[in-house]
Amino acid sequence: MTDLTQGAAPLAATQDSYMAMVRQKRLYSGIAILVFVVLLVSGFRVANDRNAGGFFDGIHRIFDFPADVVGEAWDKRADMAGLLWKYLPDLIETLNIAAVATLTGAALGLVLSLLSTRGMARWPVLIPVFRRIMDVTRALPEIVVALVLIYMLGGGPIPAMIAIALHTAGALGKLYSEVNENADLKPVDGLTSVGATWSQKMLLGVMPQVAPNYLSYGLLRFEVNIRASAILGFVGAGGIGYELRNSMAWGPGRFDEAAAIFILLFVTIVAVDQLSSSLRNRLSEGANQ
């Protein structure tokens, strides 16, 4: 009301201050973009200097290696089916590592998330402790745990499995506790009133509400874990990554095997991605009903 009654002079003042704010905003975003570009360019230059080969020396060689691999695979295309069959067990081992790690990690994450959600925790005093446990397991890259465990337990799938499971527990635990916070506590109260134990309350009061979300996050994690399991194989934890490193170490002559492994990995990752995304869509539709 006051604005209307005071004539044109305040309008001009408002306009001026508005324009000043616009200019200030433009200046700030300009500075932010400038800083960002400087960071990006100088970061690229630093990375380029510290790399063994520079970007512009290597860029024309980028297709040499894929061409070698494809060429060799094409020359020996008659053997390709045999090679794919040969590496299938390794692929299954990689998938198994990912699957078991996702299962155990999800189970662990579930317990951790229930123990660290307000209103559900068994021991409310210990909520910060369980939260920090999740933070640390989430922050540990799988490779760190895997390498240490390979030293202690010898090679094979178990170190990789434990490493991925630990990280999964932390990562899923955080997501699950976010899901838990949105869950309705009334069923829990109801179960408390009839004298249910903590595990009964969680199983009957919380689980039915959160299960679709849990499953969908678990599936997403399974996709991530397949990639992680292949990478851990590359540092010596068994599975298809290990075979890939061996065939690469041989250099030319075994590139047809590398090509077979590339194909297996690529097809698996894409297939699991598609399968899990359609499953997740169905789950989220079910949850919305």
Partner: protein
């Protein structure tokens, strides 16, 4: 009436069927999981784990994480005695000096160990381990290793062959081979973490570094201490800091590069911006392809062209994440509100202006928070990729683990990696919260 009761019975039947199905599922799912785990139990050879597991390795590892050992070594041919922490050259005591638990008297050296144990190096290539309960154990080179205990009476903490004697007790360890006789004494902590023995600042308390007289005439205390700490030849703090910087750099370049490449492509993959089906499908398949190839394969391919280093890692992250971010961005673009774009175009805006003022402000908060999530998780990925392709803290970690010697360094790196990841999580969390708040205005 009949209709209603019929449908009642129908509904009851349906409910019964639902219950039966739920009951079946609640039994079948755990049963399948149990079966699968049984199969895994045999496929992963869990039973064989007991024999593959190296408990002694585990013990060394755990012991090294919180303690270090000082070696007192006599070269058996020359008779020369050296004392060094972890047997490292920069951590060797200068000639003629020794810690107070080692007494050198001509050719006789007395090494005191905790709990009343001690070791004597005597002339004639003889060493005596004095165990307070077991008694003296005398070992001599003659010319192979001999010991004054009958082989069938050896306790299990002594391992003995003609080429090597190894006595391990809770107080320390004595080994004798033809080349050298060596005693290890364990101490709590990480050795020489701040300064090595050749630095003038070794053993100086913090307050006298800050306030006390100048120790090195050429350098001020703080500058000198910083230089010696940063260049510590055992711990390489400077190099480690660089490596962490390199890892974060890989994550930053990879994520931001991917976002810059993915954003224009996402417009081509979004239904409401690209009506041409062929283009849309093509771009989407490109996204699927680079996502499917995975960072592992990109790392291998790129390191062939560019060699190992942070650039290779950054490009591998960039390529993979272009697929993931492109997919997310195009989904965000498909959800934009058309009204704002119509409003902008009603003022006569050209297509580029429509995007700039009608679309970008809508999706910026979503995009930025996705990018920050990716930056956070790529810090971990960069550690892993660095371990494969050689760059950053990941490489230092794998090298330290492969040498199987310096587990305190491995512990140091692990702690730093965890701190780095938590720090990046924290920074991106703060930025995300501020952005989402700002986006709400």
């Amino acid at each position: 009436m009949t209709d209603a009761s019929l449908s009642m019975i129908d509904r009851q039947d349906a409910a019964q069927a639902l219950f039966r199905r739920k009951r079946l599922i609640s039994v079948a799912v755990p049963a399948v999981i149990l079966l699968y785990l049984t199969y895994i139990f045999f496929a992963f050879d869990v039973m064989g784990l007991a024999e593959r597991a190296r408990l002694d390795n585990a013990m060394t590892l755990i012991r090294d994480t919180y303690s270090y050992k000082t070696h007192v070594t006599r070269a058996n041919r020359s008779g020369e005695v050296t004392i060094a922490k972890e047997g490292e050259r920069p951590a060797t005591w200068p000639e003629g000096q020794s810690p107070d638990w080692v007494a050198i008297d001509g050719e006789t050296v007395t090494v005191d160990l905790p709990k009343g144990h001690s070791v004597l190096f005597l002339p004639d290539q003889t060493a005596v381990y004095r165990h307070p309960e077991f008694g003296d154990i005398t070992a001599k080179l003659d010319p192979s290793v001999t010991i004054d205990i009958a082989e069938d009476r050896l306790p299990e903490w002594i391992s003995y062959s003609r080429t090597r004697l190894d006595i391990r007790t809770e107080a320390g360890r004595l080994t004798m081979t033809r080349a050298k006789t060596e005693v290890f004494r364990y101490f709590f902590g990480w050795e020489l973490f701040w300064f090595t023995l050749d630095s003038p600042y070794h053993g100086t308390p913090v307050w006298s570094l800050l306030l006390g007289p100048q120790i090195d005439p050429d350098r001020s205390n703080i500058a000198g201490a910083w230089q010696d700490f940063w260049a510590n030849p055992l711990w390489h703090h400077g190099k480690v800091a660089w490596a962490i910087g390199e890892t974060i750099l890989m994550a930053f370049l990879g994520t931001m590069g991917a976002a810059l490449v993915a954003l224009p492509l996402a417009f081509l993959a979004a239904r409401n911006f690209t009506p041409v089906v062929v283009v849309r499908q093509l771009v989407r398949r490109v996204f699927d392809f680079v996502r499917g190839v995975d960072a592992l394969i990109f790392t291998i391919l790129l390191s062939r062209a560019f060699g190992p280093g942070p650039l290779t890692g950054a490009l591998a992250i960039l390529l993979t994440d272009t697929g993931s971010l492109g997919k997310l961005f195009s989904e965000a673009l498909e959800n934009v509100d058309q009204k704002q774009i119509e409003g902008v175009s009603s003022t006569g805006a050209k297509p580029l202006q429509r995007y700039r003022f009608g679309v970008i402000p809508q999706i910026t908060p979503v995009l930025l928070s996705q990018i920050l999530y990716f930056l956070e998780s790529n810090t971990r990925s960069a550690t892993i990729i660095g371990a494969i392709t050689g760059g950053g803290i990941g490489l230092m970690l794998t090298q330290a683990i492969i040498t199987q010697k310096d587990w305190e360094e491995v512990t140091y790196y692990i702690v730093l990696i965890v701190l780095m990841v938590i720090f990046m999580d924290w920074v991106s969390g703060i930025l995300r919260r501020r952005l989402i708040k700002g986006g709400g205005h």
